[in-house]
Symmetry: D2
Subunit: 344 residues, 4 copies
């Protein structure tokens, strides 16, 4: 019953076998390996984006921070949700990599930014000439930090507002595959066709050991990103091991199968919780991340039963709250035992 995070699960056999294969012989270092050339082709094909540039790194924080640094001047503002990973969970990496840009935090229910809230934020930031920071970029997250998703149309509405101010748009896709499964959209529909310029394309939470791709749909910033990656210490000498993971991930739809498994278990858990009298979902559940609250006592029963998850701050009325994340190797048995423990 391990629901702490999708980053506590391992990698599927296909990925491990790819690593073993990649280990044979000598290979050119620093991204010059043959596998990487194939990965670039895979990504371009999957996203229907023949000019896209792909840069692999090992952590989501690196992918996000490098992407934002390529899009934002040091005196720029990054518009994002108040609870975005870049705002709360990266120890200021975006500020570090951008050399001091400012994150403008936008409130919004269930982890989502509304067009009205974005419009208001843009009206009050960057309107004081040289005295305030300038408008820099928009950063969205899909799946959001609340487990909800944006549809292509919702993303396009937000990026349209940003672009009316000339701002480029970044998508934190740490759980991008889960968002695709949840929305039924294609990779292109959920990114560049909806106005996204740079994607942090997650692999780690969905079954890799540690690989994320920064995908630049406009290749103009590719060399700058290359330099920032090196300067950040994120260019791997034995790069083939990153390439191999990503190649296996994208081969024959593995990545989408893994996300479908995770989402299915997430939805099973969500529906189970929604069906309990004393428990409720905190946010609408659309993918593999479930936020719930329940009457006091739930934590004690669950922990006694061996469930592992995040217990969050209680509600003002005393109800307990929690975050559970399903991953590709979560089983129905895990879910059902969790529900049984919560119910009893």
């Amino acid at each position: 019953m391990f629901f702490a995070s999708d980053n506590t699960s391992g990698a599927p056999p296909e990925v491990m076998q790819a690593l073993l294969r990649a280990n044979e012989g000598f290979a050119r270092s620093y991204g010059g390996d043959d596998i990487m050339a194939r990965v670039t082709t895979q990504v371009r094909t999957l996203f229907d984006a023949p000019d896209a540039q792909v840069h692999l790194v090992a952590t989501g924080t690196a992918a996000n921070a490098l992407a934002l640094a390529a899009l934002t001047d040091p005196w720029g503002a990054v518009f994002c949700h108040r609870h975005a990973h870049i705002a709360e969970d990266e120890c200021g990496a975006p500020e570090f990599y951008t050399n001091g840009a400012k994150l403008v935090l936008i409130d919004g229910a269930h982890g989502r930014i509304t067009p009205a809230a974005l419009t208001e934020a843009l009206a009050t930031t960057g309107a004081s000439g040289v005295h305030g920071v300038q408008r820099g970029c928009l950063s969205l997250t899909n799946v959001t930090e609340a487990g909800t998703v944006y549809t292509p149309a919702e993303i396009a509405a937000l990026t349209g507002i940003a672009k009316s101010h000339g701002l480029p748009c970044h998508l934190d896709g740490a759980r991008f595959a889960n968002a695709l499964v949840a929305t039924g959209a294609t990779p292109a529909e959920l990114t560049w066709r909806a106005g996204i310029d740079v994607l942090s394309f997650g692999g780690t939470k969905n079954g890799l050991l540690g690989v994320e791709a920064v995908v630049l749909f406009d290749p103009a910033k590719s060399w700058e990103l290359e330099l920032r990656r090196k300067r950040g210490g994120h260019l791997f000498s034995k790069h083939r091991y990153l390439s191999a993971q990503m190649e296996a991930y994208l081969q024959d739809g593995l990545w989408m199968r893994l996300a479908a498994l995770a989402n299915a278990m997430g939805q099973r858990l969500a529906q189970g919780i929604a069906g309990l009298n004393h428990a409720a979902l905190t946010h609408p559940s659309q993918a593999n991340m479930i936020f719930a609250n329940w009457e006091p006592g739930g934590h004690a029963r669950l922990q006694a039963a061996g469930a592992v998850y995040y217990d969050l701050r209680p509600l003002p009325d005393g109800r307990e709250t929690a975050r559970m994340v399903a991953s590709w190797n979560t089983t129905e048995d895990h879910v059902d035992r969790f529900l049984a423990a919560l119910k009893s």
Copy 2:
């Protein structure tokens, strides 16, 4: 005949098997995995340093830059050799991570800093009060970028000078195991007993997929380093895969066996070159990295024979120059064919 770099070779079976074992089941993320606890114990034992703190990252640039940032203020000077990796091969990562510290480059034959040169550099930097940068730290490299090594006594002489000015000392040990093999010293003798405060302890060039340890012999800066690692995007969520590599590396002396293999092949190559009439070693060869020069025509013969290595700038007199690096899986056959091609 792949002598381009030790980072073009793969990992030995012990490491790959460790990865497969680590892949089983769920594990706590972000360094909370059980394997990491064992790695810390291993390092402390090997270095006879019960208080040492160990932080794993995936690249040598990250290890160096984080270490230097923990030791140096933004207005500090890092004293290092003119051709140090931190000076020439990291695209300014030390400047980025230190928020703008200045590398003071010290000339020295064969990649080594002499006490006299260090003394002179310290006399002319940090002596102008608030107007110039302040003295920050000393950074040495062992094996040096010229393939030579420092003995414990040589390191102690340099760190002693630095410490007389109150400076902490960093060792870039990307090829630390090769230096141990070459000098016959123990890990403690070549580090903290010789005045080193922080070690970049390399694994990647010596057989890992991508793991380096920042070893703090004084644990006082450990939490700061933890924050800098996270903020730099270098804290792995699925950290167990880093831990597993390092555990296997240090288990039963694997790391020293790998380095011994690399050094032996390096020395075989060096002796072979030294025995040729028209070729010579550019730097004394003490480990696995060989610098040589020869009469024009050598490159053409070697490349025709399929040898891969770095050809460097020719000497003023027209002699060709080159760098060859042996790794743990370089074979005698590789070496001998290289020599044959160079000779003929």
Copy 3:
């Protein structure tokens, strides 16, 4: 009728004469001038703080950014009001000087932070271990950006909360003299006796050409501040001209007389507006900065009459809003003509 800002007015004769006197002969540069030694004594005496260290700069942004950088790590959070000058009016200078610290914006009526709001901000920032930024420092502003003031007891309540988390406290005193006049407190009462560790002690808005002092009540960070000042380009070679302004400012109570003049005119304006039927004060007016709103048409009448001030965003109900600032050389005639134009 110039109410745009107190920085649009000039300097009183005492200050200009001091500049002329300071111009005689040669003087040691970079803060070694004799006048600066006297200024330090003046400040220590006025603040009853014999160990305080005083560093002069020429702009308030420099004073604030340097002070915050001395108090906050790059991975730290600066807790401040949403509309603080450091948040809205310095183009990210705090982020630049701190190397990327994060400003945590606290809402609060009339420019003031309440103890409850600070407590809540501290509960939600710095509580996630290595993943989020750490708690760095508290920064208050007095006179606030809304023209209100904090009493010594109000400041002490806030700094007490901050210090219970180990945080140092900064006060942006760009209008510190105006706050003293408004509260009747002594300099010590409004700063270190209320828990303030570092003060940005403004002079420019209150009659100097361009001088602010960073006052460190704890001298431990003085050398660091000195280095940061130089590195930021804020150490004047001909420093005597800064010293001379500050000496004249503090001599014989000039600074308090200037602030009393400004506050008196501010209060005259505020009372006049409060007495009008169609106009109202937006924030309680306690010093020399007045925020007001009125029925549509006010802007047109005022501007026709030649009044200069900031017109702000209208209220949702259409009422016009404005900021007026009185300075030491605002006259009763200016105020009365403004009120007449607004009324008619």
Copy 4:
């Protein structure tokens, strides 16, 4: 006998009177003052550069650091002389403002870079792809830190080499007026016609209280520089006092008259020293800064006579060395008494 630096002397009456005039009444802040508009016109006319953009700051370090930041990426190299002010005397301000660019130090006799040395530096920096820093810009100094000057042709030779690599060129003109006097060139000839893109145009050392202009001959970076100036805390609210100094400085050739006075006294001193048996010039003396060396005992005699100057590191053979700087208000009597004391 005050020869410590030209920054220890005061301002001429014309400048002080301009300050008094500027102090009248209210003025728009932050560079919107009427005087600044006139200053821009003055500079454009003097430099025959109708598109030039002019930004005033108060220190030379600020001018240089802002200029370099506008020209150089964080991963760029600034090519400069080993003893340039930006390298030795700004406590790392260029590294701070550029967010970590690297200064590549070029040796050269008498403070000057030769075309051969620049060519070599360009060949060895920026040639290793993503691994090393990239070539960023060239920064020259005129008058150099050794008191010598570059002619327009010498500058053009160096900028030509830089531009053949696509690099923009900066001139640190802290003593620009002295260089004009020494070379007889026009402002245009010594800057943009010789390939200079950005000039730090000094006023402080030549008679102002504290004003330097960043002159952008290509206005494309003007808004960026404006933002950097604000973010660095270098945008003055009461900007009129900077404008007034600069206007007076450029009015009726005051600046050139001041520099001519300083140079004349510098040359009188240099010729006097050159005529002594036991003393010699260390560098050819061309403007107002004199480097000399003499037999032991000179310091003692000079200091006994009350001379103030910099005594530098003795030569290996024991000869004493010194730097003397003449300023606009140095008198013949000062010079002659200095020479008498040195001689006796």
